[in-house]
Assembly symmetry: C2
Amino acid sequence: MITLSEENYLKCIYRLWQDKGQKITPTAIAESLGNNPASVVDMIRKLTDKQLINYDKKKGVELTAQGQKDATMIVRRHRLWEVFLLEKLDYHWDEIHDIAEELEHIKDATLADRLDKFLGFPEYDPHGDPIPKANGKMAKRYSTTLADVKTGGQCRVVAVKDTTSQFLQYLQKLGINIGTKIQLIEKISFDNSLVISIDGAEHKTVSQKFGESLLIDM
Amino acid sequence: MITLSEENYLKCIYRLWQDKGQKITPTAIAESLGNNPASVVDMIRKLTDKQLINYDKKKGVELTAQGQKDATMIVRRHRLWEVFLLEKLDYHWDEIHDIAEELEHIKDATLADRLDKFLGFPEYDPHGDPIPKANGKMAKRYSTTLADVKTGGQCRVVAVKDTTSQFLQYLQKLGINIGTKIQLIEKISFDNSLVISIDGAEHKTVSQKFGESLLIDM
DNA sequence: AAATAAAATTAGGTGAGACTAATTTTATTT
DNA sequence: AAATAAAATTAGTCTCACCTAATTTTATTT
């Protein structure tokens, strides 16, 4: 059985591995988790014994096939719960991460799959990150933003890149949620501002920064 | 902050207190949790320090006002999650308890209330136990069974008293679920068998024992 | 009331997962 | 290459939540 801490280490290593193809050192893990490097060394030994990672001073930490599988399933659970919290319980973008951090550790053979089905097999979580499928496969991180839409183009909001409360409150004010349709009316070449129409309503102008923070589906 | 173990002890004490107005001894707690009495003594000290219980050799363990409040909220979360697992994720009656046992410990100020709302403020969990409201109040344990219905009476299944797989499989076979309408056609006085009509379909005969295992709403 | 049984408690120990402080190894400067 | 800085590791400690074994207290029999 894999413990809560072990799961958190695995997830952390997985994230570091995805972020950059860099070598994963004990210090990097320690910093990422806010733990002491000494604790990390202990855990590296434990995870190595369980064959979830390999550690080599030259190559750093690497996930084994099993470790990758386990980590992927933790990420799957995390992202599915995030969708649940946002869509079903009406939480805001900035509240869901910490709760999902706890929910992801609930262990039951069929829970993730049932939740997945209940949610309609979502492809992406509310931050634009792809949700691994039951078989471990997943799409690429969502990256098309409103700023990539061609003039006249129509799109639909799928997630946000920026989850600061400033941005989320601004979205609230503009009436933009997940699923909201947006049409790009004009791109101002001077500063790349965007004139948009939200759900067919009157035109509004938003900044380039705004456009780059909104992940969309064309 | 209250730890996972502390929560489990509180819940256990709460259950023992509800079950019977008896004195709650360390041994009773130990047996109920499958722990050693020595461990229970340790925890009694800890919970006493936190002002969640009072302990007196004569009176046994008692919950303080705060302890009662906390325990009630754990029970609330447990029962709400049970409803969620059964109604939304299509789990069976016998699978939900253990998962809810984990979910109940997820700590977030508004989670229970949001879940409650999402589920439509259910009064009872799938075992017929009342779900404490946000203010801590709760109805009495559900106790009306199919055997209490008068001849000709109509009712609706709200929960089961018996959760053995034999009974649940039998229900499955008869097409009975939560919400199913049942009319009592006749009560056979010889052995108290019940002739019923499930959702208006043809008549079927079930035993007294069966009738007493089905909790209903008239 | 004395003997016995049961329950409660204390004392000391274990493993998980964190820590600090000290030391060793590796990398980077000068 | 030697000096210095940074990273990794070891050694020992702490808390939590459990344990066993021994002892004390309380209750029940005879």
